[in-house]
């Protein structure tokens, strides 16, 4: 890990048009190739943090610095909860979309499409349309599309929320594998403490109204982490730490 953080969020506040403060003086440094998970109660501003990083919504005050400068959109990819696939394009064509939007010709990107399809194990469904895909394949397609631009930062907004437990675990394990091959910094929003602990270096527990950091839990286990690691006491302990932090946040909210 380098000394200069990949992402530096400094004193960021966010108010939407209705004037409600969603985030207040939010600061966090995210190191290069670090994996940070955000977890917190509904509506505490998790998606807002990712949207601010992606430049999808303007910052009210404070600043977010991306290492290396340049255009944010060349370096971040946003994975939406709903997969956000275009129903009239097949898998291959959905995955190639970001490059087509940059003006590249279909022939020039077929190789790169093939690479990411293989990476996510969906090359056998490359001609299918979203309607013909299982929920898991949809998420894989959306992840493949996110990685085709070779982003420095991947922003994942509850990407596995629509999946059953088995598919979820399989995708977490695959995300782990993919990260060993393609090095990127990741910010994951999730409601699952186990998923957060399994994937992340640090789990950021958020409190609501206004959104702020309540606790940060380090997960020192080295990568790549195997699915078996989830059976160990160390894993369980980290998960309990996150869950306890979440219940403290909820109790504080009740008192207030």
């Amino acid at each position: 890990m380098t000394t200069e953080p990949q992402l530096r969020i400094e004193g960021v506040s966010k108010r939407y048009a209705n004037g409600k403060a969603v985030l207040e003086n939010f600061s966090l440094d995210i190191q290069n190739e670090e994996f940070v998970a955000f977890i917190g109660p509904r509506g505490c501003g998790k998606s807002t943090i990712l949207r601010l990083i992606a430049g999808l919504t303007p910052i009210t005050s404070g600043q977010i610095q991306h290492a290396g400068g340049g255009d944010i959109n060349q370096r971040t990819s946003y994975i939406f909860q709903e997969s956000a696939l275009l129903p009239w394009r097949n898998v291959e064509s959905n995955v190639g979309l970001p490059l087509r939007l940059r003006g590249l010709k279909a022939a020039a990107i077929s190789e790169r499409i093939r690479d990411v399809l293989k990476l996510w194990d969906i090359n056998h469904v490359s001609n299918r349309f979203p309607l013909q895909l299982t929920p898991g394949m949809k998420v894989r397609t959306s992840l493949a599309r996110g990685l085709i631009t070779q982003p420095r930062t991947l922003l994942l907004d509850e990407p596995f929320a629509a999946l059953d437990a088995i598919a979820r675990n399989k995708l977490s394990a695959d995300l782990m594998k993919v990260r060993q091959k393609r090095h990127f910094t990741a910010c994951l929003v999730t409601h699952s403490a186990a998923e957060a602990v399994f994937l992340a270096n640090r789990v950021v527990v958020l409190a609501a109204n206004p959104g702020r950091i309540a606790e940060i839990i380090d997960v020192p286990e080295s990568y790549p982490r195997k699915l078996e690691w989830r059976e160990t006491d160390a894993f369980q302990e980290a998960v309990n730490q996150v869950r306890n932090a979440l219940s403290r946040v909820q109790e504080d909210a009740k008192k207030a």
Partner: protein, 256 residues
């Protein structure tokens, strides 16, 4: 399964039976020709009828295509500029409901040629229904898909051609289908009113001639021919929408 074919055929047989009986009862009046008389009239006058149909069809098809093209372009402008939308929305709503018969006199007020008259009225009759449906459809694009295009820095025209238009296509095609049914009606009414100064008679003018000659079988044959033209046009649009949308709809009837 076979009922799907048998029942409509029974309905057709009953329809022709009732029609024949009514015509038989009314023989003295000679106002309602039977199916056989109608067929004979169609066959006997086929040269004049199809020549007349050809005269109107050219102007009608051109008017229809112009209406669809201009309608979509207008909708894009209305979608983009709120001011335009506020100014024109009530007029679009009212004018799309204006009966064709009230539009036709426009063509007589400015009688350049019958071709131009039919063209203008067909265009007016088809334009407003397209704009009325296309404008809200272009604005109803899913938020995550718009966000996706924003994160990849899509240009205004990329967003329209690669996202908003295909997303609105199902509703758009339904509106175009309706316009395809209006077009022949508009053409005939206009031709009937404005066709007097035409060298070659169109269907409307031929209709006038038949009425003057008390050739009611001819009138019926002509109406059936006009209705069939509308059905063929709408059917063509339907076939196009079936083939373009079949991959991304739950079933082929989803957009009918």
């Amino acid at each position: 399964m076979n009922l799907k074919f048998i029942l409509p055929i029974i309905v057709a047989v009953i329809f022709f039976g009732v029609w024949g009986c009514l015509a038989f009862i009314n023989t003295d009046l000679n106002v309602l020709p039977g199916p056989i008389a109608t067929w004979k009239a169609l066959w006997a006058d086929r040269g004049a009828l199809f020549a007349a149909l050809g005269v109107d069809t050219a102007a009608m098809l051109l008017g229809f295509f112009l209406a669809v093209t201009l309608g979509v372009l207008t909708s894009i402008a209305l979608m983009t500029y709120q001011g335009l939308r506020l100014a024109f929305a009530p007029w679009v709503t009212i004018l799309r409901m204006a009966p064709i018969i009230t539009l036709a006199p426009i063509a007589i007020i400015a009688p350049v040629s019958s071709f131009v008259s039919v063209l203008i009225v067909t265009m007016l009759a088809c334009f407003f229904p397209v704009v009325y449906v296309a404008t809200p459809a272009l604005m109803a694009t899913d938020k995550p898909l718009l966000d996706l295009f924003t994160t990849y820095r899509a240009s205004y025209w990329q967003e329209i051609t690669m996202l908003r238009l295909p997303h609105a296509l199902p509703q758009l095609l339904t509106a175009i289908k309706r316009a395809a049914i209006y077009a022949p009606m508009a053409a005939i009414v206009t031709d009937y009113l404005a066709g007097l100064m035409m060298k070659k008679p169109g269907l409307g003018q031929l209709l006038g001639q038949y009425i003057d000659a008390q050739n009611y079988a001819g009138v019926t044959a002509l109406c059936i021919l006009a209705a069939l033209t509308g059905v063929v046009m709408a059917g063509t649009v339907h076939a196009i929408s079936y083939w373009t949308l079949m991959h991304w709809h739950d079933n082929e009837h989803g957009h009918a």
